[in-house]
Structure formats: structure tokens, C-alpha cells
């Protein structure tokens, strides 16, 4: 349900503004907004010094975030309750030092990783040169280590041709294919030809492999060994660095968390200054709060500021419903169903939160479709497992509680329809339907489904008429009239099939014909079109019967498998598997269709989106990135 809100104006001496803002931040009940004053009081002018402070705090917050990101130390441990802005300068210094330490550590790590990547890239080529048996770099010769990335045969042949033309046959060319299309080439020439060959290589499109410093002046084999040792060293160093970073993160995290909260709190309080209007002598703040919190606000400010602060209630006539932030508060039993209504944009203030209706109708539709004691029990078990594994405020907790409600409705309707895994209960225990059996009573089930649809849609129209009565009387009359016309249509049809006395038919039909032009006059042609679409919406509830019948038929087919498929054991196995498949379908399909009946048929009749979230001014906490609607 949408919480009833009140708008208040807080006035006090200019010198107490900061302290009042602190009290409001502690209280966390007022959603502050810009003052709507008729007197010419301007907004508070921020001093140049304050603006400089804001820049410093923002920079410090960037330091904190960078340090947290680089140290990857964020954890959910701890609470914010004890945090307060006691020494902002200390937090700023801590943030700067933490960022520097984090930057140094991550910089070192990046340097080592780059070196490791470079050495590992060489490793494959070096292995190939090792296989060629090149042991030492000769005194009178020079060996060029090359990696040809072009077509293997073509590149080597072109290089060989170019070398023959330049230095004749005074060279040795050893090749070894590498994975992919690369070729490792060791080209040995005399020192006299080395310069010419060095100049020739770029001309033929070949680049010499750059060996790291550890190869310089060393025997090739020992160079290879040194390369591998260096890679191993880097690996160890990276592990040490990671461990150091983890320790540093664990050590710094409490301080960083405190700094983050303190700095965010300071910035939030600073932002609120922009919402204040002030003269040199007094200030004005305005905001929204739940009606029930009005006294708490009075007590809070009286305790903290004494009699110097005045709280003035702003009359209902002075504000519009579209400016009011929306807070949702439902009884505990309905609260899990907020996960369904939160899929919609927030409703406008003064309209209706559909959660209580969803909490009643969603499980009812689900139960009518699944309608089986056995399947309901299985769903109940799943819900129990989900609940045991969920946290207090988690999504899984809400879903498991919804599933539990659906399970109860499914078992109830299963009992009413006399179904236990289809007709198994009837076969084994002689279960009988209390009202009608879904396997053969198609028409009564269809009538029940459409009747439920009628009630649902008419209820939606009545809710729509009530909620728009104040904001849009014309629309309210239109919706109310549409609801009346639907009732008249239903009465006319019932009279036509002799459920109601036949004498009702003519007066009801005349009333309907008279109401039609009134509806067009109130809502325009669109009203007539919408009325017809409402009839379609009611027929859409026939899906409850269709899906329910399909579910029971599939269960019966599963039961038929015993005795018709080979031996009894094979039949039981197949029947069990089929029941499991049917249970899967039986959970998914009613969920989707019950949701659709709500989102399309029901909400379309009264739901008015467009509300803004109620965000009380409070201390910063990581959860502020989400947008909680419930209070």
C-alpha cells in the first residue's frame, strides 16, 4: 500500500543549519525537496571555500574508490552504524595514502605481468631453437634468430633466395615449424657478412627476434635456462605481490570503508545545502515524510536543537500529488509479492499499490491452473528448500514464500477437484471431486474461469474509478460506467441462458443501450473501443480453464503409461518422468499466464505509473546504489 505522506517546512537560525542537516541525516526520515516559498528568500549561496572543500572531498573519494578497486578489498563485512564524520582531514589523508600504496603495488604487478607475457611469447620460439641444437653463440659467426609469420614454405624460400643473391652460400639456415603458421629460423653467417645480412632482413620483410638482456654475452643454452628461471621467478613474485596486496587490502579496508562513508556523507550533506533557502538570520528546509513519522521528526529536532527549530506542516491544498515521493509499505503477508509489482514503474501518489490484490489473485490463478494435491505438495517442498537456503531479505526468500502460497492454493484446489497426480488419487484411494472434475467438466470450468475474469476486471475498473476520482473525475466516471456496463452485459447473458429470470433480459439490454452513448460522451470513441477490449480481456481468463485442463490431461496420460508401456516397472519409470515434466510445465506455465493476466488484463484497468521514489536523506551506505521502494 502507498504510505500516506506529509509535507513539512523546517525553519531555524541560520547558524544551526549544518547541525539540523546532521540531525536529519541521522534521523533518515525526511525526503528533502526544494522549498516552495512565496516570499523572496533565495537559495543558499555556497562560499568559494566550501566549493573548494567539495572538490577536495570529491578527489579524496576518487582516491578511496581507486584504492578499493586496485586492492579488490571490498567486502560486506562490518556495518556503517558506528561511522561518522569526525575527522574529515584524517579520512582524506588516509584515502591519499591508500591510493598511493595501491597504485605502487598494481604498477609493479603490471610491469611484471608485461615482462612475463613477453618472455612467455619468446618461450615457444626458444624451444624451437633448442630443438635445432644451437648451443652457443659462436665467436667468428653471428646467429640471427628469426620468426617468420607468413606462409611457412614461401617465407623461408624467399629469405634463402635473397641471402644467396647477397652473400652466396656462406650461411646456414635452420628451420623449425612453430604452432600456427609461424616458422622459427636460425640464420648463421660469418661476422664479415653480418652487417649486410642485418640490412637485408628488413628488405625481405623479416624482423629479427629480440632476445632479452639475459641472452647478451651468454651461452645460448644458459640464456634459455635463464629465461625459464626468470619466468618462474616472476610467477613467484606475482604470488608474493598478490599476497601483499591481499594483506594490505584487509588492513586498509576498515579505514577505507570508514573514509568512503564519511566522505559520501559529507558530500550528501553538502548537496542538501543547495536545497536550503536562507537569509543571513534564518534558514528554511522542506521535505516529505510518512504521516506516521511526523512525531518522530518533532522529537528528533527537539532533542537535538531544543526550541530553536520550528516544524510547520504544509497544508494539503498547497501541494500536488504528482510531486509527492512514493513509499510502499505492505503487511508482512503481502510483502513477498512486491517482487512482482516491482517489475512495474512505481505507482503515482494517490493511486493504488496493486500488491495486496496480486497477493490474493496470483496464487489463486496459479492454484486453479495447477490444481493438484501431488504437484502442490512437490511445489511446497521446493518452497521449503528455497526458504531454508535463502537469506532474510533476499529475492529467493520472497520467491520461496510466493511458491509456498501457490502450493497451498494448488493443494486446496487439488482437493476440490479431486486430483492427486491427475486421476491417480481416484484410482488408488477413490478420491472424488467436491465441486466438479476438471477432466470432463469443461463447461463449468470455463464458466468459472470467465466468471473469475469478470470479477477481476470489474474490480480493476472499480479501483480505477476510486483512484482517479480526485485527480480526473471524468476518467473516474468513465471507468465506473464501464464497470456497470460489464455487470449489465453479464446479467443480460445470464438472463439469455436462463440462469437469471428471463424477464431481466429486456430491461438490462435497454439499460446497456442507454449507457453506451453516455460512455461515448464521457470518454469519447476510445471509451467504446476500450469497453469492447474489456470484454476480450474477460474472455482471456479462459486460459485458466485451457491450461488447467491441459495439465490434468497430461497427468492422466502419465498415469496411463503404467501397464501400457512394457512391464509395470518400465511403465512406472516413464510415468514418473512424465509427471516430472508435467510438474515443470505446471509450474512455469501458470506463473507466466497468471503474471500476464495481472500485467495486461488487470493492471490495465487502474494502474497509474509515474511515481518518484521516496528517498529519505540519510547516511550513505553501499546499498544506496539500489532503489528500495519499501519502507
Amino acid at each position: 500500500m502507498i504510505v500516506s505522506m506529509r509535507k513539512v517546512r523546517i525553519l531555524g537560525p541560520r547558524a544551526r543549519l549544518t547541525s539540523v542537516i546532521g540531525a536529519l541525516q541521522d534521523g533518515a526520515i525526511v525526503h528533502l525537496c526544494e522549498p516552495s516559498l512565496e516570499t523572496p528568500i533565495t537559495g543558499l549561496r555556497l562560499t568559494a571555500q566550501h566549493i573548494r572543500h567539495v572538490a577536495h572531498v570529491e578527489a579524496a573519494l576518487d582516491d578511496v574508490e581507486e584504492a578499493v578497486a586496485r586492492l579488490a578489498c571490498e567486502s560486506a563485512a562490518g556495518t556503517n552504524a558506528e561511522l561518522a564524520v569526525e575527522d574529515l582531514a584524517r579520512e582524506v589523508r588516509l584515502a591519499r595514502r591508500a591510493r598511493r600504496a595501491a597504485v605502487a603495488l598494481t604498477g609493479e604487478r603490471r610491469r611484471l605481468e608485461e615482462e612475463r607475457t613477453r618472455l612467455k611469447h619468446l618461450d615457444r620460439a626458444v624451444e624451437a631453437f633448442e630443438r635445432m641444437g644451437i648451443g652457443a653463440i659462436g665467436r667468428a659467426t653471428r646467429t640471427f634468430f628469426l620468426v617468420l609469420s607468413q606462409g611457412v614454405g614461401e617465407g623461408a624460400a624467399r629469405l634463402e633466395l635473397a641471402l644467396s643473391e647477397a652473400i652466396g652460400t656462406a650461411f646456414t639456415l635452420q628451420t623449425e615449424p612453430l604452432p600456427g603458421s609461424e616458422l622459427a629460423v636460425a640464420l648463421t653467417v660469418s661476422l664479415a657478412d653480418a652487417d649486410r645480412v642485418e640490412a637485408l632482413l628488413p628488405e625481405t620483410g623479416v624482423q629479427e627476434l629480440e632476445l632479452p638482456e639475459i641472452f647478451e654475452g651468454a651461452e645460448l643454452v644458459s640464456g634459455f635456462r635463464a629465461l625459464r628461471e626468470r619466468v618462474a621467478e616472476i610467477d613467484e613474485e606475482l604470488v608474493r605481490l598478490d599476497s601483499r596486496r591481499r594483506r594490505l587490502g584487509e588492513w586498509l579496508w576498515p579505514g577505507l570503508r570508514r573514509a568512503r562513508c564519511a566522505l559520501n556523507d559529507w558530500l550528501a550533506a553538502s548537496d542538501v545545502l543547495k536545497l536550503a533557502a536562507a537569509t543571513p538570520h534564518f534558514f528554511v528546509l522542506e521535505g516529505w515524510l510518512p504521516e506516521s513519522e511526523r512525531e518522530a521528526l518533532g522529537r528528533l529536532l527537539a532533542d537535538r536543537e531544543g526550541e530553536r527549530i520550528v516544524i510547520e506542516d504544509i497544508a494539503r491544498e498547497d501541494w500536488s500529488a504528482r510531486d509527492v515521493p512514493v513509499a510502499i509499505r505492505n503487511p508482512r503477508i503481502f510483502r513477498p509479492f512486491e517482487v512482482i509489482t516491482q517489475r512495474l514503474p512505481l505507482p503515482r501518489y494517490g493511486t493504488m499499490d496493486p500488491t495486496p490484490f496480486v497477493a490474493v489473485f496470483f496464487p489463486m490463478f496459479f492454484g486453479l491452473i495447477l490444481g493438484d494435491l501431488g504437484y502442490g505438495f512437490m511445489l511446497g517442498l521446493l518452497a521449503l528448500v528455497g526458504r531454508l537456503r535463502s537469506s532474510e531479505e533476499g529475492l529467493l526468500r520472497s520467491l520461496s514464500e510466493i511458491a509456498a502460497t501457490c502450493a497451498v492454493f494448488s493443494m486446496t484446489f487439488g482437493f476440490v477437484f479431486g486430483e492427486l497426480f491427475g486421476d491417480l488419487g481416484q484410482r488408488l484411494f477413490g478420491m472424488q471431486a467436491l465441486v466438479f472434475s476438471r477432466e470432463d467438466a469443461f463447461i463449468p470450468f470455463l464458466a468459472l474461469s470467465v466468471a473469475i475474469g469478470f470479477v477481476h476486471v470489474v474490480l480493476g475498473l472499480v479501483l480505477g474509478a476510486l483512484t482517479s476520482m480526485r485527480s480526473d473525475p471524468r476518467e473516474s466516471v468513465g471507468r465506473g460506467l464501464a464497470a456497470v456496463m460489464l455487470v449489465l452485459t453479464a446479467m443480460m447473458l445470464l438472463a439469455a441462458v436462463n440462469v437469471l429470470p428471463e424477464k431481466f433480459f429486456t430491461p438490462v439490454a435497454v439499460a446497456l443501450l442507454l449507457a453506451f452513448p453516455v460512455l461515448v460522451a464521457v470518454e469519447g470513441v476510445i471509451g467504446a473501443v476500450e469497453f469492447v477490449s474489456r470484454l476480450g480481456n474477460i474472455l482471456s481468463y479462459a486460459r485458466i480453464m485451457a491450461l488447467g485442463t491441459a495439465s490434468v490431461m497430461l497427468a492422466m496420460v502419465a498415469n496411463e503409461m503404467v501397464g501400457t508401456l512394457g512391464g509395470a516397472v518400465v511403465g512406472v519409470v516413464f510415468a514418473t518422468l512424465f509427471h516430472l515434466v508435467n510438474f515443470g510445465l505446471g509450474v512455469f506455465s501458470p506463473t507466466v499466464h497468471a503474471l500476464r493476466l495481472h500485467f495486461v488484463e488487470f493492471f490495465g484497468t487502474f494502474y497509474s505509473p509515474g511515481g518518484q521514489v521516496y528517498r529519505p536523506f540519510r547516511h550513505w551506505r553501499p546499498a544506496d546504489v539500489s532503489t528500495p521502494q519499501s519502507v
Binding site: 479462459a542 491450461l547 507466466v592 503474471l595
Partner: protein, 72 residues
């Protein structure tokens, strides 16, 4: 002969809307999948959009049942 006519009518009553539903879902499905890659939070909306054309098949099923019951 009459039974044959009733059977064919019922089959058409469910078959044609089912084909139409399949065609509509084949158009909505890829569009919904494409939307989900960019905005995963639209999951519920996507499922609902895909479920909307099923009304045709469901009403077709209801009509087929009525034909069979009235005719049989």
C-alpha cells in the same frame, strides 16, 4: 460423415490459431532476445510479450472443446 466434419472443424479451430501464435512468437522471440542482450532487466516483460499471442491458441483450444462437446 457428421463426426468427420466436427473433428475437422475442431482441428481447424485449434490448428489455425496455433499456427498464427507460432508465427507471432517467431517474430517476438528474436526481438525479445535481442532486447535482453542490452537490457537483461526486461526479462519479465519479454516473457509476457511472448505469452501474449498464446491467447489465440488458448481461445482456439476452448472453441475446439466447445465444438467437440456440442457436436459429440
Amino acid at each position: 460423415m457428421e463426426m468427420l466434419g466436427i473433428g475437422i472443424s475442431a482441428a481447424l479451430a485449434i490448428g489455425l490459431p496455433a499456427l498464427a501464435t507460432g508465427w507471432a512468437q517467431s517474430r517476438i522471440g528474436p526481438a525479445a532476445a535481442a532486447s535482453l542482450t542490452e537490457r537483461p532487466e526486461l526479462g519479465v516483460t519479454a516473457i509476457l510479450l511472448i505469452a501474449i499471442p498464446e491467447t489465440m491458441a488458448i481461445l482456439g483450444f476452448v472453441v475446439a472443446v466447445l465444438i467437440l462437446m456440442r457436436g459429440g
